[in-house]
Symmetry: C2
Subunit: 295 residues, 2 copies
């Protein structure tokens, strides 16, 4: 790489805007057939980040013509009450997708709640049956989890060479790291899954033609960990203090962007990379669910 | 390694014999409570290898006091007939485990058949819901697939250091490679999943503290691919011609055993390594299913 190399900026905002425009057109076509696409958002408790996410998702729904039904529940709601709500949402014909914002308070059985969501409405793709299909050759989940689907879509949009590429995924979470690893395996990458117990991370990351960072540690991945020309997808969204910023803080990813973009072939910024894609893919899953409900 | 280094031989026969003795004791305890443990084996068509596997499994059942119910079906059985059989086996109280020998003929929907097996009787652990739980943090499948469970049990028995170890899995099949990779990730290994599209296999394998080979290509893994001291688990069972053998052929693994055992720390032979463990784990799952049926 020359000293003034600059990686291609992977513009998640632009790709997400295209997807949202397509979703809006599909929702409009359904409206003409008398179907108003509906997403139910279930939020338990008063986690401020969860409230922000749900607000953003509802705003995005409104912009593409998807109706959102908002269920804000007290943090001490019982398992039985929450299950009854899921049952009723499963039964409603005007609800095509059900989103339960995670994490749930500790007294609730998250696994059981997610398993109760009708497969046809599991637009978050978190049902264990969908994850199982994701892990299996010859099977496809009904819906892909939104963030991993967004990661793959960005890589596709910028021409990442999947087959035979060395892909490294940092993080093995149920909602990002593991599904990303499974999707990249389905795309014929050679995938290495790293986590908090992994050793020699810099050396492992240096092999990556495709790097997905999803650990939630600001700037953990250094510039000299990046293989020249690599595709770098930064899922991290970490708030750090910055006295020069208006509110004294700013968002950064898991990758040291400034240093990495002098080495990588293509890289997502934070914010404006994966973030917008997550919501776009949720909207796409929801309109797909509505279309399928007519079949 | 010195010139006369010999890897520890991982004796799958001996470990499997211990497990079978424990299973026999548990089956006897159940018999005293009036419960005869039962496994239903379903075989479609006339694949000779499948017939051999089912015969071996039934023989092993008999040896530990598990009754086996044998359903040999014509290769042109319809999907509806096979589904009806699964339904009836799900309902029978004397059947605690259901084994559908794979592969099924192409006209049958294998995914649907496996999904119909009651989770409580899915002793092969192939239900997509069980695979999904295997892939997810904080969740555990009701049953582990037999061969991957046997791989892990052998590594445990011989003291493999899981946490932080570099594990390489060759092969991403639904029944061996992928579940092995997921189990090793749960054990805090850094896992790399390789397959037919992977490049530079020798170099990837040389990093492996733990190697699981499950590709079905005789002697593909060369001795100089092995990291000194590595744990090598060879799942391959390939028949090659050998004029010096009685029937003109013999079984070999995916690893060049002669060469590898001069470098590895511990290695499974073929036969006598993973093979006996697969059946032992199936028996263990079946007696576990019977015990749970009393709860």
């Amino acid at each position: 790489m020359s000293a003034d190399h600059q990686a291609t900026l992977i513009d998640g905002k632009a790709v997400a805007a295209q997807i949202r425009a397509q979703v809006a057109a599909r929702a409009a076509a359904l409206a003409e057939r008398g179907v108003r696409v509906g997403l139910a958002a279930v939020l338990v408790g008063d986690n401020p980040a969860s409230h922000t996410y749900v607000r953003m998702k509802r705003k995005a729904c409104a912009e593409v013509g998807i109706e959102s039904f908002y269920h804000a529940l007290p943090k001490d709601i019982s398992q039985a009450e929450l299950e009854a709500l899921i049952d009723s949402l499963n039964a409603r014909s005007d609800v095509h997708g059900i989103l339960v914002q995670l994490p749930l308070p500790a007294h609730l059985d998250e696994q059981r709640i997610l398993s109760l969501i009708s497969l046809a409405k599991d637009v978050d793709g978190f049902h264990p049956l969908n994850i199982g299909r994701l892990a299996m050759k010859g099977r496809e989940p009904d819906f892909l989890p939104a963030t991993p689907a967004g990661v793959i879509r960005l890589l596709e949009a910028y021409g990442a060479p999947f087959t035979g590429a060395d892909a490294v995924v940092l993080g093995r979470s149920n909602i990002v790291g593991m599904p990303c690893a499974l999707l990249l395996t389905k795309r014929d990458c050679t995938v290495t899954i790293c986590h908090s117990r992994s050793r020699d991370l810099p050396q492992i990351v240096r092999r990556a033609d495709i790097l997905v960072a999803a650990v939630g540690r600001p700037h953990m991945v250094q510039g000299d960990w990046i293989k020249p020309g690599a595709f770098v997808i930064d899922v991290g969204t970490n708030r750090i203090s910055d006295q020069s910023a208006k509110d004294g803080s700013r968002l950064v990813g898991d990758v040291d962007f400034e240093a990495a973009q002098r080495v990588a072939g293509a890289i997502t910024p934070v914010p404006g990379g994966v973030g917008p894609m997550t919501i776009a893919m949720l909207l796409e899953n929801t309109v797909t669910a509505a279309e399928r409900s007519l079949q």
